[in-house]
């Protein structure tokens, strides 16, 4: 057995004339947290749905848990847990009824379900609420219950499709603790998200843009590989004007607004700092602070996506 839980080769899915996933290739190592990142409509869900057997690929292959998704979908299904952005629980059933239904559907005996029940309740923090109807639970609780139901049968691999969508920061934090615990127990976690702060928790990341993978690696590798030039964080007045001015200069590689600050990518730190200050102050914009920062994943992604869409445009004009 290899150390890979999931192996994807040239996986492609076409809907009519639209290529949702375009020759995607990657591996997921056993027991790691694998983050699949991208904007809405970039192809995240389509990929996860193919890997779970909900959707057939147009071309390419993939194995999940060592089994081919096209040839042995039933073997795959026994080994995976799946939780999607929509809470796929029965709102008109109680907490324990949902647990026993999903346990049953995965072929767990009644005794086995009874054994696992306390574990799920504990994990979801739903002790004493077994008899509540699911629709009465808050979103954060529903999510934890949905995760509990998805891993009742102790799958090797768990697919989480935007599991933290629409949840408050505390619940998100709690949810990621659960994901860490799963991974610590040897379960491979494949998670899609568009929250870039969440990507920092992942061991390995792929960025998908318009159906194609545009970046990959661990968060640290990504920052090293894709951002070679120093990034300056500038605190100044009239941020938008400042950005427009800087964008006209050929020595400025990238600019973007991060909240109230400006991120400016330059070739050399000392020279860059001096040039930025001179330009802005010459135009009457006071610079209050300017530091070189450790790039965030957001910097990486913005840079990668800008490059990609730039390439796309130039290709389009040819």
């Amino acid at each position: 057995m290899t150390g890979n839980s999931i192996e994807v080769r040239d996986l492609t899915r076409v809907f009519g004339k639209f290529t949702a996933v375009d020759h995607v290739t990657f591996d997921v190592r056993r027991g790691e947290i694998f983050g699949f990142l991208g904007a809405n409509g970039a192809g995240k869900s389509t990929t996860i749905r193919m890997l779970c057997g909900l959707l057939g690929p147009t071309s390419g292959t993939a194995t999940v848990g060592g089994f081919d998704i096209g040839r042995e979908p039933d073997r795959v299904k026994e080994r995976i847990g799946y939780m999607s952005q929509k809470f796929s629980l029965y709102e008109d059933l109680t907490v324990d009824e949902n647990i026993s239904f999903f346990g049953g559907v995965y072929g767990l005996s009644r005794d086995r379900v009874r054994e696992k029940m306390p574990w799920v309740l504990e994990m979801a923090g739903l002790w004493g609420r077994e008899r509540s109807l699911t629709r009465e639970l808050s979103v954060g609780w529903k999510q934890r219950l949905a995760l509990g139901c998805a891993i009742l049968h102790e799958p090797e691999i768990v697919f989480l499709d935007e599991p933290t969508g629409g949840v408050d920061p505390v619940s998100r934090r709690n949810f990621w603790e659960l994901i860490n615990r799963l991974s610590g127990g040897g379960v491979t976690v494949f998670v899609t998200t568009h929250y870039l702060d969440e990507a920092e928790y992942c061991n390995d990341i792929r960025l998908i843009y318009a159906g194609r993978l545009v970046a990959g690696g661990s968060p640290r590798e990504m920052k090293r590989t894709y951002i070679r030039n120093p990034i300056l964080e500038v605190e100044c007045d009239r941020v938008v004007d400042a950005m427009e001015m800087l964008q006209k200069e050929d020595w400025v590689l990238e600019t973007s607004i991060f909240g109230a600050y400006l991120h400016v990518s330059v070739g050399d730190e000392a020279e860059g700092k001096a040039k930025v200050r001179r330009l802005l102050e010459a135009n009457g914009i006071a610079v209050r602070r300017m530091d070189r920062i450790v790039p965030s994943l957001e910097d990486v992604f913005i840079q990668r996506i800008e490059q990609e869409s730039g390439d796309g445009d130039s290709r389009g004009t040819k």
Binding site: G53, D74, S84, E91, Y106, C149
Partner: protein, 384 residues
């Protein structure tokens, strides 16, 4: 490392059945719809759909006033078919009463009825019938002719007798006996049809929602990634509805018995077998609709469209299939209620054995198998 457990197929099926029971049990509207609605519809339709013509309002204008005239009129008023509403002195009033629909039949016995009769002349009696409703009018005309015929025969024999022709009998007399439904009550014929009609609509509508609702709510996706097989899902969804619809079928049978006096002459177990096959077929049709549609609204429309009119018109419920043009007759083979109706009438009214309708039972079984089979295939295809 986690060990992979091979799922127990029975656990999967049981989980689905249990879940469906719980959901139905928690959904009072569905439960009422399934259990109470059939009985309620039987009540409504049973009394409204009555082809018996009884208690027809009658006006009488007796210009003669003789004992013979009274005797003749008595033949009408002493039956349950006519209710004497008006006794008129002026025959011109008849016009008004018929026009205002106060009465549907008017009888005018002219002056000289008794004397003409005694003299052996042919007294003319005028009968006016409101023909606006052709069907009930023709039934009323039938009653009237029968009563007049009867009386004419009675009077003729008495006349001949009085004139010394003792021992005269009519040369030809028919002795008609009606089997199975001796009183020719339309209820006996209609109630089984109503049962088939009502159950069909209810069955298909109730399951038409079951799959499409899960699609809308997103729970179907969760089921699709599990090792549950499409066939298990379809069977698991059918089983609870079979039990519930069996209960409502019995309620309908009971109401038919209590309200309309329709008793089951034949074998109950045969009835149960036929009924169960019919129920499975209907539920299967609903499930099929549910697997091909995307929204509950469309599913509901399809369910009503595919049951209401076809069952009403093409099952032989009201209109006999053998009177239909061949093309329409061919269409009736697609309506499962038709097979059920033939079998149901055989069992309930005639008390017939399986030999009389085994082909119908076979067709019902085939229909059920086809519906569930296609639903299962659709579920499999739905993944792609």
């Amino acid at each position: 490392m986690n060990s992979v457990r091979v799922p127990h197929r029975l656990c999967c099926l049981r989980a689905v059945v249990k879940k469906e029971f719980r959901q139905i049990g928690r959904d009072a509207r569905t439960l009422i719809f399934l259990v109470v609605m059939p009985g309620f519809l039987l009540l409504m339709f049973g009394f409204a759909l009555n082809f018996d013509v009884k208690h027809v309002p009658l006006a009488v204008c007796d210009e003669d006033g003789s004992a013979a005239a009274r005797e003749f009129i008595g033949n009408f008023t002493h039956t349950e078919y006519f209710d004497l509403k008006y006794e008129l002195s002026d025959p011109r009033e008849v016009d008004r009463l018929l026009g205002e629909e106060k009465v549907r039949v008017a009888l005018v016995v002219p002056l000289g009825f008794a004397t003409d009769l005694a003299a052996g002349r042919d007294p003319a009696v005028q009968v006016l019938v409101d023909g606006a409703n052709a069907s009930s009018a023709s039934t009323a005309v039938g009653y009237i002719s029968a009563i007049v015929q009867n009386d004419a025969v009675r009077m003729t024999t008495r006349l001949l007798h009085d004139r010394g022709l003792k021992g005269f009998v009519l040369p030809l007399a028919s002795d008609v006996r009606v089997w199975y439904n001796p009183e020719l009550r339309s209820a006996i014929f209609l109630v089984p049809g109503l049962m088939a009609f009502i159950l069909m609509v209810i069955l298909v509508v109730s399951t038409a929602f079951s799959v499409v609702r899960e699609k809308e709510r997103g729970t179907m996706e969760q089921i699709m990634v599990s090792p549950l097989k499409p066939g298990e899902l379809i069977v698991g969804k059918t089983v609870p509805y079979i039990f519930i619809s069996l209960v409502s079928s019995h309620l309908v049978l009971l109401l038919g018995r209590v309200l309309f006096g329709v008793a089951i002459k034949g074998n109950y177990l045969l009835l149960l077998l036929t009924m169960t096959l019919f129920l499975i077929g209907g539920l299967g049709q609903g499930l099929l609709i549910s697997t091909v549609t995307r929204t509950q609204q469309v599913a509901f429309q399809l369910a009503i469209l595919s049951t209401f009119l076809p069952t009403f018109i093409l099952s032989g419920f009201v209109f006999p299939v053998r009177n239909m043009p061949p093309v329409v007759q061919a269409l009736t083979y697609l309506v499962p209620a038709k097979y059920f109706l033939v079998a149901l009438r055989s069992i309930i009214i005639k008390g017939a054995g399986l030999r009389a309708f085994w082909d119908q039972v076979l067709c019902l079984a085939a229909f059920a198998a086809i519906m569930l089979g296609i639903s299962t295939l659709r579920m499999k295809r739905g993944k792609r």
